[in-house]
């Protein structure tokens, strides 16, 4: 018997719940559903799913609260569902440890792709970095060398400064996932520099001029307006 990935869907709208259930079952996933946040925690702890899909707007519990308590004891991948008018919630969810978010309304192929990506990320984490070979990450013509602290483009050192390298290295560690502005600022400049987006923007502009052929049509580092940055997934 084949082993299926098990997904817990936490969503209070019955028609969306139905859609997700049908879609996921049709795509060979084991699906458990619940509309209540309290029940969700029990289900996750007793069934050990491979992935959680979480709607932030639940009737009995704030979705971010649920995420917070889940993250206290579990590192299971979480994809958050949210409406567009709540960028703040999105950012908050990512900062709280959600792996990805998808905006309602969503296309089914997009959702399935995100699910596959989140599951893959978990696996690479378990396999201690399949993508990263000997501390080196390859993304197209870009190479991040974690040992020698340098970034190569077409095998030539692009000459990043210390800060710029740390920025790219951070994005590389989470390649394919959006990292929020706040998280980057905290990681690179420490907690005191909060809300100074300017320094981050300037560094990012410099990096882009060193690694992208065309800064306004990037191949590697992408922007999610109002949320954060992400580096393209490794090949």
């Amino acid at each position: 018997m084949e082993i299926r990935d098990r997904i817990v869907v936490i969503e209070d709208d019955s028609s969306i719940l139905n859609l997700l259930k049908t879609l996921l079952k049709a795509n060979n996933y084991d699906v458990l559903v619940t509309a209540s946040g309290a029940e969700a925690l029990t289900i996750v702890s007793s069934h050990c799913p491979d992935l959680v899909i979480l709607d932030l707007g639940l009737p009995d519990m704030d979705g971010t609260e649920l995420l917070k308590s889940l993250r206290e004891w579990s590192s299971i991948p979480v994809i958050v569902l949210s409406a567009r008018d709540h960028e703040k919630d999105k950012v908050e969810a990512l900062d709280l440890g959600a792996d990805d978010y998808i905006t309602k309304p969503f296309g089914t192929s997009e959702l399935l792709a995100r699910i596959r990506s989140a599951l893959r990320h978990r696996r690479t984490a378990i396999d201690a970095g399949l993508a990263m070979q000997n501390g080196v990450l390859h993304i197209g013509s870009l190479t991040i060398d974690y040992n020698k602290h340098r970034v190569l483009k077409d095998d030539r050192d692009v000459g990043l400064t210390q800060t710029e390298f740390r920025l790219v290295a951070l994005l590389g560690r989470y390649a394919g996932r959006v990292i929020t502005y706040d998280m980057i600022l905290r990681e690179i400049w420490g907690p005191n520099l909060k809300n100074d987006n300017r320094i981050l923007r300037v560094n990012m502009a410099n990096i882009r001029r060193k690694i992208e052929n065309h800064p306004a049509e990037p191949e590697f580092i992408f922007t999610e307006a109002g949320v954060g940055y992400f580096l393209r997934e490794p090949d």
Binding site: N197, M204, A205, A216, E217, T223, E224, A225, G226
Partner: protein
Amino acid sequence: MKKKPVLPEKLKDCLITAGILSVASIICMILRRFSSTDTHVPMLFVLAVLCVSRFTHGYVYGIIASLLAVIGVNYAFTYPYFKFNFTLTGYPLTFLAMLAVSLTVCTMTSRIKAQEIIHLEIETEKMRSNLLRSVSHDIRTPLTSITGNVSAILDNDGKLEKFQIKMLLEDIRREAEWLNRIVENILSITKINSDVAKIRKEQELAEEIASSAVNKFHRRYPDIPVCVSVPDDALLVPMDAVLIEQVLFNLMENAVLHGKTTSHIELRVSVKDNQAVFEVEDDGIGISEDLMLHLFDGTLPIGERGDGSGHNMKIGLSICRSIIEAHSGTIAAENKDEGGSRFYFELPLDSMQYS
């Protein structure tokens, strides 16, 4: 303009009333030293009452002021001083006339003020109902198509070919996506109009916002290439990133839907006179004369857009204008000499920050 500061407003009106009356009294006291007659006194107080009615809210302060003035003038500033005397020939009549004048002026100014407020309310109401009318029209069009297509599929079970069903379903998806974009636009408007959630401006890189808007656009319209050009130096522009991204998306989508023959789009960012200039150019059919006049104001009557696609551009564009104006910027459109249209908007740069 909201009803929040009720108490401070009352306090302010009281202070204004007291202040104006005291000023009048002081002038009277000073004049008494130089003048032997009292004839200027009632005049001065009529003026004072007029000022009170003009600068306070409602009738109350004007009426109180005129009563105080009548009593004060009789008691303090006309002979015999600091005594009431209603027996002097002519004085009761003078006072009655003053009260009448004061009350009339007060009523008149109050009424004018009320009319101004009503006028303003009518204007906003007109705008609101205009927008509501076009929004509901814009929502109903895709909904009609969705409902129609769904019932076509459900009611004709077995009679339709597979490819026909697929076509109907694709229409449903397209219309639903369009519906979603209308809702996103409406949400942006509420973001700008509500007092609580003011737009949150941050220093953003022009190239990032441009490329993220183009990415979104590519997901919807993969067949239309967009050429992006930005200044060589990093350009930081104070803006709400999500809203400006939406403006760029709306402009590019308009270029496709209303340019009709658009085969590619150019998105340019440049700096001019301490302004960041964003331009979206297409090679479509351009904008017709009569459309040009009402492009951004959302006042075009329904049925007069002469486009027939059902996908109305005026909500999108009037929302673009609201967003740009909330950034203290300007937006405009023109036809290019070589064909196609150019939409452009300017956002003020921080003179301090831009170096």
